[in-house]
């Protein structure tokens, strides 16, 4: 790719929209994952008693659904990313490619 083409793609509104959207989603989802996991780790480190609380009369503690929840949330987040990317990013990427791929 030459400099002129790179400039052209960079100034393309579709490219700018793609980058803006993807960066936003990337940052939000990464932060959610970091907060969920390190929040859990800090809970384990500082407040074991909280996780050891029993659910009603059950022998099961609140820590078990929370722990399994971290695994499930992580998986769901990857699903959310795939959903958004398939819905929005691929279409924009295809549009950009159509416009410039002959000039590469």
């Amino acid at each position: 790719m030459n400099k002129a083409l790179i400039e052209k793609i960079k100034n393309d509104p579709d490219f700018q929209k793609l980058v803006k959207e993807r960066t936003r989603i990337m940052i939000i989802l990464t932060l959610v994952e970091l907060v969920v996991y390190f929040g859990f780790i800090l809970l384990v480190a500082f407040n074991k008693e909280f996780l050891a609380q029993k659910l009603g009369d059950s022998v099961i503690t609140i820590g078990i659904p929370i722990g399994i929840g971290v695994i499930v949330i992580s998986f769901l987040l990857t699903g959310i990313y795939v959903y958004i990317a398939n819905k929005d990013f691929d279409e924009l990427t295809e549009k950009i490619k159509q416009k410039y791929v002959r000039e590469v």
């Binding site: 790719m1 790179i6 859990f40 780790i41 800090l42 022998v59 503690t61 695994i71 990857t78 990313y81």
Partner: protein, 577 residues
């Protein structure tokens, strides 16, 4: 000898050699009796995988075939293969054993091993696919100076591969000794030889399919075990946990976090190593080049995360199932007897009825790592136990094959083709990678035998710490930070590696557990928090101060790279045969 006849020769040597070795240990010397069912099933697996290798070898001609299976693997297949690469015997037998001895603490490890995947998905999967070709160093060196960046990537990759491989080989030797009654060194040699054959002849195509088959076997076997456990307790978790708490020596403590994560600094440092180490493992990163485009790359991570998460939930059920069901099986314990106290059946020491043995590391025949194997016997009889033993062996084989391929690729593609070779020659590059496979394989066998009596538990943690401190920061900065320069990346990465190595040597895991000193110099068990910080801070600082001509080129190259990262324009495509 032609390639085909050489292949047949090796194939028959491996099968005959294994059958011979298996036949030679029928004596009563080993702790574990030879399990003929397990050996039969394992031989079936070996023959099938050698068949796949033969098939793959005929289709592996170019460098692209060797490194990326031609780039035509689908997202779903790659997801399974990634899961296969990641679900090692350590995470199956080790975590099931940890849940059995400590309950909830086992879950903490599972969670740590899983949470790296969303990070891989959001930050790395698509850029890797759009920028890379064969190894992750293609991505880090995209706009930086090839020579220094490839050397750094090779140092990072080879140290991760070496430590991980030693841990796997030693684990393999001991496990096979237990499962099949084979002598330790025979087991290590069998594993090493098979992995050389898979990788040298079948390249990525054979490695991928071996991972996929192993992943299906492991997920299937673990699902059946968890299902049988739940069936036994009428699909009531309350029943399962209630029984487990009533019989375990630690009682209710198994339902909440215990001593595994004691102080916050250790907890966060281990968390960082597990999370970002996953995102820096060379054999995992390499898998993103086997799919045709960014869309399939992200699909792979989605499926991989699903399979791995599901598998870790299964190991949790398996560990608790073992606690709850082993009371019916005093024969799984050494020197134990079954007693009934206040209507509750317990397993106690034959000489000391006050000592409850459920959850005791040493009391189980073969140790805590045998938890899942004994449970297989308890829920499915000897045939199923044979199956699970064979699956555990297959798991080890698949993981070491993936590691060896990653190590060989960095030697041939990063070091040979991009640093030392005077001209590009793909055929020569493939030849070098095959030679590298054989050398790494022999190296792994020798190290496996040398480290037999050593405590290698720290090596997996170290591999993750190095991956998190050398490979991951440089990848992230190379992809997203315009101002990164070659000099900054090179010295920052090396500093992170040195800090990780030094801190682990003076930590309790090596200074006390391996070197037998009474007191550690530092209390931190995993160095990641400091080594990652070192790499990031130094790399950014040096890059900022770098005003060389090279730095100017490094920064100027960012724009073009950025457009390709985001759109995939100019990215490597798949080839069809």
């Amino acid at each position: 000898m032609t390639k085909r006849s050489l292949m047949f020769y090796l194939l028959s040597v491996a099968v005959v050699g294994f059958a011979f070795a298996a036949g030679g240990v029928e004596g009563p010397v080993q702790k574990q009796a030879v399990n003929p069912l397990a050996i039969t099933m394992f031989i079936i697996f070996v023959v099938a995988t050698l068949g796949i290798t033969y098939w793959a070898a005929k289709r592996t001609k170019t460098a692209k075939d060797f490194y990326t299976a031609g780039g035509g693997i689908t997202g779903f297949q790659n997801g399974l293969a990634i899961a296969g690469d990641f679900m090692s015997a350590a995470s199956f037998l080790g975590i099931a054993g940890l849940v059995y001895t400590s309950g909830y603490d086992g879950l903490l490890y599972s969670i740590g091993f899983l949470v790296g995947w969303p990070i891989v998905m959001f930050l790395l999967s698509e850029p890797l696919r759009n920028l890379g070709k064969y190894t992750f160093a293609d991505v880090t060196s995209f706009r930086l100076e090839q020579r220094r960046i490839r050397i750094l990537a090779a140092i990072g990759s080879l140290s991760v591969v070496t430590f991980y491989l030693i841990a796997q080989m030693v684990g393999a030797g001991k496990l096979i000794q237990l499962l099949f009654g084979l002598p330790y060194s025979t087991a290590v040699i069998v594993v090493g030889s098979l992995m050389i054959i898979y990788v040298a002849f079948g390249g990525m195509l054979a490695t991928t399919w071996i991972q996929i088959i192993k992943a299906i076997l492991l997920l299937g076997g673990a699902s059946f075990m968890a299902f049988m456990v739940l069936l036994h307790f009428g699909f009531s978790f309350e029943n399962l946990f209630q029984t487990a708490v009533s019989v375990h020596s630690k009682g209710e403590k198994i339902m909440a976090p215990g001593g595994l994560v004691s102080d916050p600094l250790n907890a966060i440092s281990l968390g960082l190593a597990l999370m970002f180490g996953t995102a820096g493992l060379p054999h995992i990163l390499m898998r993103f080049f086997t799919v045709p485009n960014a869309k399939e790359a992200r699909k792979s991570v989605f499926f991989a995360t699903g399979f791995i998460g599901y598998f870790y939930i299964l190991t949790f059920i398996i560990g608790f199932g073992a606690i709850a069901l082993f009371v019916q099986h005093p024969e799984y314990f050494q020197n134990a007897k079954q007693v009934v106290v206040d209507g509750i059946t317990k397993i106690v020491d034959a000489n000391d009825p006050a000592k409850n043995l459920i959850g005791d590391k040493k009391a189980l025949v073969g140790g805590e790592n045998m938890t899942a194997i004994h449970l297989a016997e308890a829920v499915g009889g000897p045939a199923f136990m044979g199956f699970i033993s064979a699956v555990a062996f297959a798991t080890i084989l698949a993981v070491v094959a993936g590691l060896t391929l990653a190590g060989a690729s960095t030697v041939s593609h990063d070091l040979y083709a991009n640093v030392f070779a005077k001209e590009k020659d793909e055929q020569k590059e493939v030849k070098v990678s095959k030679i590298a496979t054989i050398i790494i394989g022999i190296f792994a066998i020798v190290l496996g035998i040398v480290f037999e009596k050593q405590n290698v538990a720290f090596m997996v943690g170290l591999a993750f710490a190095i991956a998190a401190s050398v490979n991951f920061p440089i990848l992230i900065l190379a992809i997203y930070w315009r101002n990164l320069t070659t000099t900054g990346a090179f010295w920052g990465g090396l500093a992170g590696l040195v800090v990780a190595l030094v801190l682990i040597v003076i930590s309790p895991t090596v200074w006390v557990d391996v070197l037998k000193n009474p007191e550690p110099i530092i209390k931190l068990k995993n160095p990641a928090i400091f080594s990652m910080l070192t790499t990031f801070v130094l790399t950014i600082l040096i890059s900022k101060l770098d005003s060389s001509q090279r730095a100017k080129e490094d920064r100027e190259g960012f724009e073009s790279q950025y457009v390709r990262t985001q759109t995939g324009i100019g990215a490597e495509g798949a080839v069809h045969h």
